[in-house]
Symmetry: C2
Subunit: 548 residues, 2 copies
């Protein structure tokens, strides 16, 4: 047994402190202290974040890094919980990024409803591990229920189907993952294994490996097709799965900025004719990371059906739009997918890190079954049998609770606000002389760029070569504006590269805005554009902009 | 813009409710309410868990499942936050598993220090996404620091090394993952890519795929070698990576229950001689999931060095033992590994789901670099460039804070308590007539089984065939005992299958105990054994045990 020391100092690790730390104090005054800490977390952080309209303190990365170079672990306790919390509020929070600010409109991370912090605290306090029934019990059952609810939201099968599968231990309608990346990876992992059924000595890719599969089927390569707006996790998934990330075939987008169906159809036929190539999947995007654009899902479903190809929809961003009566029609066709990715920490407004992937066929996940002797035995309810992850927290409880608290209507209000505010933003951008709207929002994401008046004039008559030269100048201007605005710390938009017109081969820099914070309104958006104008004017005054 | 409704009912989702939910109430009384909720979470759950000594309510899975079959998402809000919390305390918690109970000694999940709930609440409130600097800033810098601290704990390079790398944006000492499974997967992913450097037209597995790699190197398969006690995530990793999970070569354990070095050496030589096979890695286990046993790491390092093979140590369980001056010697040799897995949600006592993987070579993770246009651009500090995951919460802040609060000494006390209590438990098992100790604890895990006296007698003189017959009877007894004890809900040990002696080919059922809760003591362990004896006696009385 460990020694039963009883040193009084609270900064010494001893046995009695440890016991207190685990048992938790039972007397009234200690309880009050612990609750006070939680109050500081809820409101100390909150007040700080609210007081500072901006997104982060102005400090250079180099200077910041200098303070984090000690690499020795302290032997004795260094700080009390109270001081750790105080430090986080006073030192960490100001130098973190206030993603909850309505001026933070650059990434798919935003304010989350305050109750999410309560729900996360509950999952931590329960500390269930949903890999197996023996460490989760009712949470495994609850998880299966919420998976069925989401499956129904996507595929909308008959009630009998859900009664049969909701608590069926032999089938699995979907799984929770840690985000869109692992959700997409899981979908392609399942599709990969399904693609190559047993043949002669070859049993499965999972068992025999990809080299054996290619030999058994006399093939040279396996590809997936997705528009150029496909998320980089798809490339990563192909790399991990051993298929080689060069085998992602990027299809151009058309004038709607969604996948060019004619080119897709052509490429599909061409690849089908090539006897050495297998098409693993065609991917439809429902809310592209960079533009928010949704691919024409019914037409993609048709192509997949015609050619017998796995149809995966990456709705990591757009999935929750299904909850809006007003806009769910934008995702029409998703119900014909074989698999669908949806993120929880995006438009379900849950804390990091939570995603999901769903399969139309309740037996699809049998492709990736793993058992172990000490858990996850065959026939058990253990959810870990069919997940990429091993140990896993009960994020399902958060989604379930959030839906109870807000209803689908609560979510719709947020989603509709985002889409409609983005439309207004697009209008505002078009009305300003200095700006050019590059992609019109279909959902709540849009891109634009700063184009000074003299360059606008030149662009009107420029030929392709001249245009490219002008675009390079514009790239430089927009990179500078984005960087200066970010570093000033008051507001934040992100940037990426896109073609401004479809016959360009130059990807130009655009500013990217994601409107998902219900507190973001037109006044704030006006301020953000004002700031960008003012940064541009300063740059011009300082002659920091190279003239063409 | 969304409609500015103002319905008063709190169970209607309207715009003003949404605003309240996001802004959080500013007046004193609403703040008090929110803090009260957190108090309920901290102590309502806590009191429940403390009052109920046992691990779960007695209820059949079928009955439980019946209550979770509604698969329609509610349109309007259904419950207030207060009621959701109340339901979780009253309805969910009793039917979840009280992993914090000192009577729960069956899995690698346990009580966590109460302050972990505070820290998890902080990460949720900040909601940083450490995939990129733009959504995390100081947290990315802090993460690099804690990664360097852990790397130093494992590899113990000179101070200059850490000064060079701690905040170096070109190198990476390790990454946070969501657990041991993704840590092991990442290690093997890196090893896989490293194994096949560019050759002629072949650039990399990541780009060209595994089939091209095999062709370029004129090989047929790629294998890893690990003892039979290797975690099932290794098999899964080979499946995912396209190498085929049949290519995990299981090596027998010797009488110490660790990898048989002679057999490993033989197998290594045999495979090295086979020109069609490439050995990807040899894996040393530092704390086997089933037995807690540590492989002879220095000898494994020698073999890997001699043959030029990647040496991975799966220290998901045992890693934190490095913090104990008294027992860190058990992990000697780990500093010679190429990569090391350590879990945070195991013996770092953090909430689900958090793990880590470290690489000796600070450039090793370059094997899995991914960029995107809108984030993670080349040369940036963005941590997501070299991780399996995309979006990721700042678990690093929890580990950093916990080490500040407890120091390495606080962790050592817990680790030493576990090891020493397990040793006492082993002694207690040996002293009881009804029990047989199967694996002696090297760390804080042991296995044993119930062997009735008459069978013990028969086993003494039984030949191999008779022994196997008797073992089958014992399997049945032990499965029943484990199941009945689990379902009764007072205490919990798990079960698995192991060979009881090395020349058996039958894997017999054993009871498995993991001692990691500082509140678990010899009195509690005595009660658990008493209960098992009493279950056995009842079974015998009811003649439920088939006689040989």
């Amino acid at each position: 047994m460990a020694p039963q020391e009883n040193k009084p100092s609270s900064l010494v690790a001893d046995w009695s402190t440890l016991h207190r730390v685990f048992i938790r104090p039972e007397d009234e005054s200690s309880r009050k202290t612990l609750v006070k800490y939680m109050e500081q977390i809820l409101f100390g952080l909150h007040d700080f974040l609210n007081k500072h309209v901006g997104v982060t303190e102005e400090i250079s990365l180099v200077k910041l890094a200098e303070e984090y170079t000690d690499t020795k672990i302290n032997k004795d306790p260094k700080k009390k919980l109270a001081d750790v919390i105080k430090d986080i509020i006073d030192e960490i929070a100001p130098r973190a990024v206030n993603v909850a600010s309505p001026y933070f409109i650059g990434h798919m991370t935003s304010a989350i409803p305050f109750f999410m912090v309560h729900l996360k605290a509950i999952t931590a306090a329960l500390n269930q591990n949903v890999i197996k029934l023996e460490t989760s019990k009712v949470l495994s059952v609850l998880e299966k229920q919420i998976l069925a609810k989401m499956h129904r939201m996507i595929f909308d099968f008959k009630n009998e189907f859900y009664l049969e599968h909701v608590q069926n231990t032999e089938t699995c309608l979907g799984i929770f993952t840690t985000g869109g990346t692992t959700a997409n990876l899981t979908a392609l992992w399942v599709a990969r294994n399904k693609c190559f059924p047993p043949k002669d000595d070859f049993e499965s890719i999972e068992k025999n490996g990809y080299f054996e599969a290619m030999k058994a089927y006399n093939l040279e390569k396996t590809v997936i097709l997705v528009s150029k707006r496909g998320h980089f996790s798809l490339r990563k998934a192909l790399g991990i799965l051993g298929l080689g990330n060069q085998n992602i075939i990027p299809i151009d987008v058309d004038s709607n900025r969604s996948i060019d169906l004619i080119k897709l159809e052509e490429k599909t036929k061409e690849l089908q004719a090539d006897k050495k190539t297998k098409i693993l999947a065609i991917i439809g995007i429902a809310g592209a990371t960079e533009t928010g654009i949704i691919d024409p899902l019914p037409e993609l479903a048709d192509i997949c059906e015609t050619h017998g190809i796995h149809f995966h929809v990456d709705a990591a961003w757009g999935g929750p739009v299904l909850l809006s009566d007003k806009y769910s029609h934008l995702l029409k066709g998703i119900e014909r997918a074989d698999s669908v990715t949806i993120d929880c920490h995006k438009q379900f407004y849950m804390p990091m890190s939570s995603g999901m992937v769903y399969f139309k066929n309740p037996k699809a996940l049998d492709q990736i079954v793993y058992h172990a002797r000490y858990v996850n035995r065959p026939g058990s309810v253990d959810l870990g049998i069919k997940t990429l992850e091993g140990s896993r927290e009960a994020n399902s409880l958060i989604l379930d609770s959030a839906l109870k608290i807000m209803g689908s209507k609560g979510y719709s209000l947020m989603i509709e606000h985002g889409i409609e505010t983005a439309m207004q933003f697009a209008k505002m951008i078009k009305e300003r002389d200095l700006f050019q709207l590059v992609t019109t929002p279909q959902l709540n994401i849009l891109t634009y760029r700063v184009v000074p008046k003299d360059i606008q004039e030149k662009l009107k008559t420029a030929d392709r070569k001249e245009r490219q030269k002008l675009d390079t100048v514009l790239d430089d201007i927009n990179i500078q504006i984005q960087r200066i605005q970010r570093e000033a710390g008051k507001s934040f938009v992100s940037r990426t590269r896109l073609k401004t017109s479809s016959d360009d081969d130059h990807n130009t820099v655009v500013l990217r805005s994601v409107i998902m914070n219900p507190m973001t309104n037109v006044d704030i958006l006006d301020e953000i554009l004002d700031e960008q104008e003012s940064i541009f004017n300063d740059l011009e005054t300082q002659q920091m902009i190279k003239k063409t």
